[in-house]
């Protein structure tokens, strides 16, 4: 039962990362100077998806609370400021989709709200991941670091890194979903972003080495972890060649693969901890009565339905979107 829920949790987080990753990324790219028709084309490329994508954050949240309440309580309270800034960022960017089209004079407000909201939410997510990797001060199963206990160089670095990563994913999505100038610009950004992410990864690795982050020992204990960087390396090569060959389809898949293997790396190096080196999966798990209650309804029936629902949504809107003339 515990394994079942930890798997579902991991699947939900991964789906969230990939799906909301690209639309947050498009939001960040929105901040770069651009013309109005191109901006609308960018919005159009994520508009049918963003809301469904964000629901996976809620799904992740409620699974975490129901199945692993101690982690929910510890992580959300430890990251008090980042969580709330992330939520506010998500609200600001979410409503911008709707309000931007209804406003003429105030359009710039919603342009900023969409871009900065996306940037804020992405940065805070990166900070939280970085904070977890670095390790939270936990005493007797309770977080003991205070309101700013997570604040240090490494999490901030990870915040920047995730913004770059999401932007890369967003640029790939635009290349895949759009044509014309929007795609060409995204192609150019793609190169810089890919190099940026690569530099970031090197920096993170160096930082981890220099500061002797305990998570590094995992790599020595568990050599099979090197499978993930190997996958990433292959994906990165395919990505590079597909950028050079101007393939529109592959970059998104490859970057998704890199994200998935990065997530896999973290998940496996955390195992069996949920909050590294403080709270294990078994310690965090709800009593059997709670897990079973969730399993027999939502786990067994509704979760698979949600997956089908996402797949259907993406199938309906597959292929490149073509903007019709004069519709803006």
């Amino acid at each position: 039962m515990v394994t079942f829920w930890v798997t579902l949790l991991a699947v939900s987080i991964l789906i969230y990362l990939l799906l909301d990753g690209f639309d947050l990324g498009v939001g960040i790219l929105f901040l770069l100077p651009n013309s109005e028709p191109r901006r609308l084309a960018m919005l159009g490329a994520v508009a049918p998806f963003w809301d469904g994508n964000e629901t996976w954050l809620v799904v992740t949240g409620v699974i975490l609370w129901g199945a692993f309440p101690i982690v929910y309580a510890t992580v959300l309270s430890a990251f008090y400021i980042p969580v709330i800034l992330m939520l506010l960022g998500l609200i600001l960017r979410g409503v911008a989709f709707e309000f931007r089209n209804r406003s003429d004079q105030t359009r710039w407000i919603w342009t900023c709200s969409f871009g900065l909201g996306s940037l804020l939410a992405s940065f805070m997510q990166g900070v939280m991941v970085g904070g977890l990797v670095q390790g939270l001060p936990v005493v007797d199963g309770r977080y003991a670091g205070g309101i700013f206990g997570w604040l240090s160089t490494f999490p901030l670095l990870c915040g920047v890194g995730l913004c770059l990563g999401y932007s890369l994913l967003g640029a790939c999505w635009l290349v895949r979903k759009r044509g014309g100038a929007v795609r060409d610009i995204a192609r150019r950004q793609l190169k810089f972003l890919a190099i940026g992410v690569f530099i970031f990864l090197v920096l993170v690795f160096l930082h981890a080495l220099l500061n002797h982050l305990p998570i590094l020992h995992r790599w020595i204990d568990r050599p099979y972890l090197f499978v993930f960087p190997a996958i990433s390396a292959v994906a990165a090569c395919v990505l590079a060649s597909s950028i050079l060959k101007q393939n529109d389809y592959l970059p998104f898949l490859m970057v998704s693969l890199i994200f998935a293997s990065a997530f896999g790396t973290l998940a496996v190096s955390f195992w069996p901890y949920m909050v590294p080196f403080a709270i294990t999966i078994d310690e965090a798990a709800s009593p059997h009565a709670s897990l079973a209650f969730m399993f027999w309804g939502e786990g067994l029936f509704i979760f698979p339905l949600l997956l089908v629902y996402v797949a259907t949504g993406f199938r309906v809107f597959r292929g490149k979107f073509v903007a019709s003339r004069g519709h803006y």
Partner: protein, 469 residues
């Protein structure tokens, strides 16, 4: 533990959830109203029902979207500000809220898509079925929320192990009497909210002498429904009062501003409870009525606040006042609904401009009543977060500081004020414009994942999926 941070956290939770509840309270009833409209359209074949359906579907879209956006926050605030509560009650509250999320997504998201796109693509009966499923989804959402909150009011079906609430009887947690009565009370409140909004819209058009056919239908539907629902709601309100009387006597005493045991007890109609002197200023009191209200008896002894230790008493002023505001709104709604219905039956409603104006201005009443009722329930539960078991002060994130809590509260207030004023403005514009516009012209960009897009005057872009690549 920081006392100011505690107060600020409570205000933050109250503020964000108050903003949130307005939208579900509206959409639950609206979804049912849409289902009824579609059924009438199918049954009578009259075009006007379809016109109304399309019109209210747009408004449903915006309200639903704002409800979703503000709802995301709720799922995380338990963890950020109330980490001790979420740690202890996670095994019970977590699964309940996860069912809320899962069932709501399943029913609302997928069938809402059919409502938006499906008019011409699915058989009419299936379209009606989709409307009913959206209504069921919003209702189930409310169901789980009420189960969750009722467990905090009257915790049942659990044992405490290692400082954690472990569920040992889910049936008892879900299907206990308190939860059922409160669920019905909330559901009826939601129906009243929609009924008054629909009737107010009808009155508005009638005053402006536009869309008269639609206006008559809306007035009739809203007022007739309210005329029946308000009395039923009063009965359920009384039943809710019974559970408070039985399970939370100190809350009951606070609502009644009854400081000392009385036999038979009087009923304070109005007054100003003063906690310092443990008495009421400017009190108007009717003898014996208190016993009748509480125990349906002329002689019963009713317990007063001073029979409980001071640290177990809730604040008195807020529950006392909010309860009276709620009942006052209820009685006003009853009067409007009955007078209006009578005028409709006599075909004289359009002759009375003062009544139409009153109906137009009455739309906030059910929302005020809903919020006031919730404040009564939640403030009256203090100083407990899980009644009788876990104190609110012990439930808060222990290291939360005043400055952090104040910062986030100010940010929430600013962002919410900003976005909700835009949202409500857009609903207002839609209502003012009326159902005229283009019928059944659903913007191409409207999608199930993006409910608010339904109401776009011009869509983001029209997109036609082409064969891939």
């Amino acid at each position: 533990m920081d006392a100011t941070a505690l107060l600020l956290s409570r205000i933050q939770f109250g503020f964000t959830i108050s903003f949130h509840i307005i939208f579900p309270a509206f959409t639950i009833g609206l979804a049912a109203w849409l289902t009824v409209l579609e059924a009438l359209h199918l049954y009578t074949g009259r075009k006007v029902y379809q016109t109304l359906f399309e019109f209210w579907l747009k408004i449903f879209g915006i309200a639903f979207g704002l409800g979703v956006v503000s709802g995301v926050v709720m799922g995380f605030q338990f963890g950020t500000n109330w980490s001790e509560l979420s740690r202890m009650s996670g095994p019970i509250q977590g699964p309940l809220l996860s069912y809320e999320t899962f069932t709501a997504f399943m029913l609302e998201a997928s069938f809402f898509g059919i409502l938006v796109f499906g008019r011409r693509r699915v058989p009419p009966l299936f379209y009606l079925f989709a409307a009913a499923m959206v209504a069921l989804g919003t209702t189930l959402s409310a169901f789980w929320i009420m189960i969750n909150n009722s467990w905090m009011q009257v915790p049942v079906g659990y044992v405490v192990q290692n400082g954690v609430f472990v569920p040992d009887d889910w049936l008892k947690i879900i299907f206990n009497e308190v939860a059922m009565v409160r669920f019905a009370h909330m559901l009826l409140a939601a129906y009243l909210s929609s009924a008054f909004c629909v009737a107010a819209t009808g009155a508005w058009y009638m005053l402006r002498k536009i869309y008269l056919d639609e206006a008559r239908i809306m007035l009739r539907a809203g007022l007739f429904l309210a005329a029946v629902v308000v009395p039923v709601q009063l009965v359920f309100g009384h039943l809710v009062g019974d559970y408070v009387h039985k399970h939370q006597p100190v809350k009951f005493a606070a609502i009644e501003a009854r400081w000392h045991d009385e036999q038979p007890a009087g009923e304070v109609i109005i007054g100003w409870p003063d906690e310092a002197t443990e008495s009421n200023l400017y009190e108007i009191k009717i003898p014996v009525l208190g016993s009748i209200v509480a125990s349906s008896s002329l002689t019963s002894k009713e317990v007063g606040l001073t029979s409980f230790p001071a640290q177990d008493r809730p604040p008195v002023l807020i529950p006392f006042l909010t309860f009276r505001v709620m009942v006052g709104c209820g009685l006003l709604m009853l009067a409007l609904a009955w007078i209006g219905s009578w005028r409709i039956v006599r075909h004289t409603i359009d002759q009375s401009r003062w009544l139409l104006r009153a109906i137009l201005l009455s739309f906030p009443l059910p929302f005020i009543a809903t919020l006031a009722g919730w404040y009564t329930a939640e403030v009256g539960r203090q100083p407990w977060v899980v009644y009788g078991v876990l104190r609110t002060a012990k439930a808060m994130t222990p290291f939360l500081t005043t400055s952090a809590a104040a910062t986030t509260l100010i940010l929430f207030a600013a962002v919410y004020a900003f976005i909700f004023s835009f949202g409500i403005y857009h609903i207002y514009v839609l209502l003012r414009t009326g159902p005229g516009g283009s019928l059944s012209a659903v913007p191409a960009a409207a999608t199930p994942n993006r409910p608010m897009s339904l109401a776009d005057p011009k869509s983001v872009s029209s997109r036609k999926p082409q064969s891939s690549r």
